[in-house]
C-alpha cells in the first residue's frame, strides 16, 4: 500500500515529470497559481527579475552578473571566472531538462544572489525569459 501511495505521489508531482522548459514553466505556474490565481508566466517580468540588483552580494548582485543580459550568450562566473554555458534552451538543450538540476541551481543561486528562495512565480517567469527573451 505504501508503495502504491508513493507511486501515485510520483505521478501527480508535476515537477518530477517536467523534462522540457515548457513543462517546467507549466508546473511552476501551476504552483504559483495556488497563491496568485490566474498566474501566467511572463518573459518580460523574468527579464526584469534577471537584471534586478538585489544588493545581497557585491559581485553577484544580479543573475545577469554571470549569465549576461542575453540568455543565449555564454556567461562567466563573476568571482571565479569560470565559463558558463548559455542559459537559453534554444541554444543549449541541456538547460531546463533535469528537474534535480533546475531545483539545485535555483536553490543555490537564489540564496546567493536574491538572498532568499525564489518563488514558483519567479522561476516560471525566469524560464520564460530564458526560453524566449533576449
Amino acid at each position: 500500500m505504501k508503495k502504491l501511495i508513493s507511486i501515485l505521489a510520483l505521478l501527480v508531482s508535476p515537477s518530477l515529470w517536467a523534462e522540457t522548459p515548457a513543462q517546467f514553466i507549466a508546473s511552476y505556474s501551476a504552483e504559483a497559481a495556488r497563491t496568485q490565481p490566474g498566474f501566467v508566466a511572463d518573459a518580460a517580468r523574468g527579464k526584469a527579475f534577471a537584471a534586478h540588483n538585489w544588493g545581497v552580494s557585491e559581485k553577484l548582485a544580479s543573475c545577469t552578473a554571470c549569465h549576461t543580459d542575453n540568455p543565449r550568450n555564454p556567461g562567466r562566473h563573476a568571482v571565479t571566472g569560470k565559463n558558463i554555458a548559455p542559459l537559453s534552451p534554444v541554444v543549449n538543450q541541456e538547460r531546463f531538462s533535469d528537474p534535480a538540476k533546475v531545483e539545485k541551481w535555483f536553490k543555490r543561486n537564489c540564496k546567493e544572489v536574491v538572498g532568499r528562495a525564489c518563488t514558483a512565480a519567479e522561476k516560471a517567469d525566469y524560464i520564460a525569459f530564458a526560453l524566449g527573451g533576449r
Binding site: 568571482v79 571565479t80 571566472g81 569560470k82 543555490r108 546567493e112
Partner: protein
C-alpha cells in the same frame, strides 16, 4: 659530508617535483561528480594541490565555502567526493591559511612567478584560481607546458 647530504636532499626534492608534475598529468580524468559538483562554479582543481587535512577542512565547511554556501545536499555524494579528494590529495604541508588556499603556497607562487600581472589583466583573469584562463586543458586536469597560454603572448610555440 654535509654537502653530500645536501646534494642527495636536492635530488630527492627534484624527484618529488617530477612525480608531482606527473601526478597532475595522470589525473587526466576527473570523476563526473567532481566536475559537476565542484567544477561547475570554478575550475575542477587538481586534488594534489591540497593535502588530506586541508581537503578535510574544505569539505567540512562547504556551507561557508570561500564566501558562498556550496553545501552538497546528498550526503552520499558529499562522502564520495570527500573520499576521492582524500585518496588523491597531495603530500605537501598545510597551506597555512584558513580556509586553505593553494594560491598562498610557496610552491604555487614559485610556479607562477614569471606570470606578468598586466598580462592576466589583459586576458580578463582577475583571480589566480581561474586556471583555464592560461592552462587550456585545466578542465580536463591537464597542466602541461605545451598547453599554457602565457598572458600577453598568444602563442607559446610557433608550431602548436
Amino acid at each position: 659530508m654535509k654537502s653530500l647530504v645536501f646534494i642527495i636532499g636536492m635530488l630527492l626534492s627534484l624527484a618529488s617535483l617530477t612525480s608531482l608534475a606527473e601526478g597532475f598529468r595522470a589525473q587526466a580524468t576527473y570523476p563526473a561528480v567532481y566536475k559537476s559538483e565542484c567544477g561547475s562554479c570554478h575550475d575542477p582543481f587538481p586534488p594534489g594541490l591540497l593535502n588530506k587535512s586541508d581537503w578535510g577542512r574544505v569539505m567540512q565547511n562547504l556551507d561557508r565555502h570561500y564566501g558562498t554556501d556550496a553545501s552538497i545536499e546528498n550526503a552520499k555524494t558529499a562522502a564520495t567526493l570527500a573520499n576521492w579528494l582524500e585518496q588523491n590529495a597531495g603530500h605537501r604541508a598545510d597551506t597555512g591559511t584558513n580556509p586553505p588556499r593553494f594560491t598562498a603556497t610557496h610552491w604555487f607562487k614559485r610556479e607562477h612567478r614569471e606570470v606578468p600581472p598586466e598580462g592576466l589583466k589583459k586576458l580578463g583573469i582577475n583571480t589566480p584560481t581561474y586556471c583555464t584562463g592560461c592552462h587550456l586543458g585545466a578542465a580536463q586536469g591537464r597542466y602541461g607546458e605545451n598547453e599554457i597560454r602565457v598572458p600577453g603572448q598568444t602563442r607559446r610555440h610557433e608550431d602548436d
